[in-house]
């Protein structure tokens, strides 16, 4: 593995190895002194061209716990606001002997484009509606902690599948680990040809949840609710929100995941988000460990 551009293209073995490494990393974050010298002297640039707090902080903490130097670059503060092209910017960073590039962009394909141009490893931290592989790995890790294995488990992903990179990466990683994946949302939010990715679309929340072992609730973007895809927030909250009532259709103790940040009362009710089956904060903890594992595998002594 030279880059982490997506779950697509990863073998089941590579996924399992990343998850095993992440589990070992979890322990470091429990220590009094949360730092190991593994990546001392390495420079990691977090190039976040689309605003993000959670993922950027998670990558930054992951780099620091491994003793790497992490530099954060954001769209507004970067030379891209002076019309420098992305390709030129990446070449410049490489010329400064950066060891790894973490990239978040609003356009699908940007991490791949940069990986084709630089010799250093590139990690996709979310590209448009394409993939968000570290999120999917941390979701898989969270479900593995719940179930031991995803083999034969039923996972429902609910929300705006069409515009969600989390949905794409999640369904690929869950399928690769043997789970049955359902995607659910109003038809305007289910992209064409989704079946080709090995999942079954549902147009009813109730049907999608029936007998599910886990539910991934996607964040609903406000602008989508006001666009042509959906009549409005009230309609969504009344018909697609994960509440105690709708969650009861899933298996008892079904795990509830959400990539965050959550819109309380829209796609998920507080009574569900804050209660026991919710694994939302475990996801955040696991996110740091997964990102440590990715940085380690791409720049560590193994390379």
């Amino acid at each position: 593995m030279r880059h982490l551009l997506g779950i697509e293209g990863l073998s089941r073995e590579e996924i399992l190895r990343l998850l095993d490494t992440a589990e070992a990393m979890l322990e470091i974050s429990q220590r009094e002194v949360k730092r190991v010298p593994t990546l001392r002297g390495k420079t990691i640039v977090n190039l976040f061209l689309e605003p993000s707090t959670r993922t950027r902080v998670s990558f930054e903490i992951a780099a620091k716990r491994l003793s790497a130097d992490a530099i954060n670059l954001q769209a507004s503060g970067s030379s891209l606001s002076k019309k420098e092209t992305l390709a030129d910017m990446a070449s410049n960073l490489e010329a400064m002997n950066v060891d790894l590039l973490v990239v978040r962009d609003r356009t699908a394909g940007v991490p791949k484009m940069l990986a084709d141009r630089v010799r250093i490893p590139v990690v996709n931290a979310g590209d448009g509606a394409h993939e968000h592989p570290t999120q999917a790995l941390l979701d898989a890790l969270t479900l593995r902690q719940s179930f031991g294995s995803l083999e034969g488990r039923v996972v429902a992903i609910v929300g705006d599948i069409a515009h969600s990179r989390v949905a794409r990466s999640d369904l690929l990683v869950f399928s690769a680990l043997g789970a049955e994946v359902r995607v659910a949302g109003p038809p305007t939010m289910i992209p064409p040809g989704i079946e080709a990715l090995g999942v079954k679309p549902y147009f009813s929340l109730e049907d999608a949840l029936a007998g599910a072992d886990a539910v991934v609730v996607l964040r609903i973007q406000q602008e989508r609710l006001e666009g042509a895809l959906f009549p409005g927030e009230r309609e969504y909250a009344q018909n697609w929100s994960l509440t105690r009532r709708t969650l009861a259709l899933a298996k008892p103790e079904a795990a509830v995941l959400h990539p965050g940040p959550i819109n309380r009362g829209v796609e998920i009710a507080s009574e569900v988000a804050d209660a026991e089956p919710s694994r939302i904060l475990d996801q955040v903890t696991n996110g740091v460990a997964v990102r440590m594992a990715v940085l380690y595998q791409l720049t560590g002594s193994e390379q």
């Binding site: 993939e131 064409p192 080709a196």
Partner: protein, 428 residues
């Protein structure tokens, strides 16, 4: 004594249906004789054993970018690319800067062509002023100035009433109106074909229906107006069906298809190659099959390249930010020969679709090898295999989806009025 003789070529002349080994002779810029073992001693002899001799190709849809965007292409470089691809007549689109929407610009393009072009350049003028889709251009004066057709191309005429009047008015000068059929609202922010690939790539798709609903509208307006509608770069199978049905009903419609839509599907967008980004987009394998069938049965009259040069730095950006369009003049022939190998077309038909058929669609005096015709013709090495590198392309821009792919068949010589304007052997 005659000027030039091409000896022992396999002559493929779709106008006459001729396909046999013959000599061809040129005198005074025109074909003076065609036959076996011609008598006399010409001044120049080209031995063409093993080569095909076909009418010079005619491209109904090129962007030569002059005036205004000479950093992408100009008439000189574009006509060199045309010559290298076997095209002896090129119709150039109106979206220059300034737009070719006035007789002065049309005359300027023709003057620049006389000064710098190796092949015949025929301007297409805008259908509406400034390509704004509001007020029609001075089509009568433009026709007198040399415009061969009218089109706003990618700036789709959104208002059906404007399109109706444009068609009606163009009927008066008996020139075709070329329609780039994509409903701008349905296409939205789409950058590729909507389907499984766009879903997997996370890129916004544009459905095939964005084209077919506009094809349906324009066919109805063509029927209403009685005008000649020419549908540009058909990409969707459903559009082929609509055109076929309209032709059966007697609507005056002709249509073209590009080499890239005949060759590729949306699968090649998977690696986010911006040289696979054009409008309309590459569609499904089923659409491609329908295009090949439509070309074979004559629903799609001819091939046109939609040669659309863009500078490397313009394409070397995020997929969504890259401009639409690919170059196509220099790879059209091998793309068509691949369709021949697929069994969809005969060799003579492939030559026809590049030469005689487009000339006939626009009523241009070209695309024939009959005695007395202009001596515009091309020599082809049909089995020559090559993998185009950017440096092989004569176009100023190299944004081709055919780069580094195995192609078979190549133009080795191009002649305009009997003058050799391209020679692969000498590289000039």
């Amino acid at each position: 004594m005659s000027g030039l003789r091409i000896r022992k070529a396999r002559v493929l002349d779709p106008a006459s249906g001729r396909d046999e080994e013959l000599d061809l002779e040129v005198e005074g810029g025109r074909i003076s004789a065609l036959g076996r073992d011609l008598p006399g001693r010409p001044e120049h002899v080209v031995e063409a054993d093993g080569l095909w001799l076909a009418p010079g190709f005619v491209d109904l849809h090129s962007h030569l970018r002059e005036p205004g965007q000479e950093y992408k292409e100009d008439i000189a470089s574009g006509s060199l690319a045309a010559a290298a691809g076997g095209f002896t007549t090129v119709c150039c689109m109106a979206n220059t800067d300034p737009v070719n929407d006035s007789p002065a610009i049309t005359e300027y393009i023709r003057r620049r062509a006389r000064e710098s072009a190796r092949v015949r350049v025929r301007p297409i003028a805008a259908a509406t002023q400034g390509l704004r889709g509001e007020i029609m251009t001075e089509m009568i004066s433009l026709t007198k100035a040399g415009a061969v057709a009218f089109s706003d191309d990618g700036e789709v005429i959104r208002d059906a009433a404007v399109m109706r009047r444009v068609l009606e008015y163009a009927r008066g000068v008996d020139r075709p109106v070329i329609a780039h059929c994509e409903d701008p609202d349905l296409r939205g922010a789409g950058v590729m074909h909507e389907g499984g690939c766009s879903t997997a790539c996370g890129l916004t798709g544009s459905p095939a229906e964005a084209e077919s609903v506009m094809v349906a509208r324009d066919l109805e307006l063509a029927r209403l107006s009685g005008a000649h509608l020419h549908i540009a770069h058909v990409s969707a199978g459903r559009s082929v069906e609509l055109i076929r049905e309209a032709k059966e009903r007697g609507v005056r419609v002709t249509a073209e298809v590009t080499p890239h839509h005949l060759t590729f599907t949306d699968e090649i967008v998977r690696n986010y190659d911006t040289n696979a980004k054009m409008a309309p987009p590459l569609r499904s394998a089923r659409d491609r099959e329908a295009l090949r069938e439509g070309l074979a049965d004559g629903t799609l009259d001819c091939v046109a390249t939609d040669h659309a040069p863009h500078a490397a730095y313009e394409k070397d950006v995020e997929f969504t930010a890259a401009p639409f369009g690919v170059v196509g003049l220099e790879t059209a022939l091998p793309a068509l020969l691949a369709v021949v190998r697929s069994g969809a077309l005969s060799e003579l038909e492939a030559v026809a679709k590049l030469s005689h058929a487009p000339a006939r669609a626009f009523g241009l005096r070209a695309g024939t090898l009959e005695v007395g015709a202009l001596a515009d013709f091309v020599l082809i090495a049909p089995e020559l295999a090559w993998k185009p590198e950017p440096s092989d392309l004569r176009s100023r821009s190299k944004n081709s989806p055919f780069l580094r792919r195995e192609l078979v068949g190549r133009v080795v010589g191009t002649f305009v009025a009997g003058e050799r304007v391209f020679d692969l052997g000498t590289g000039s």
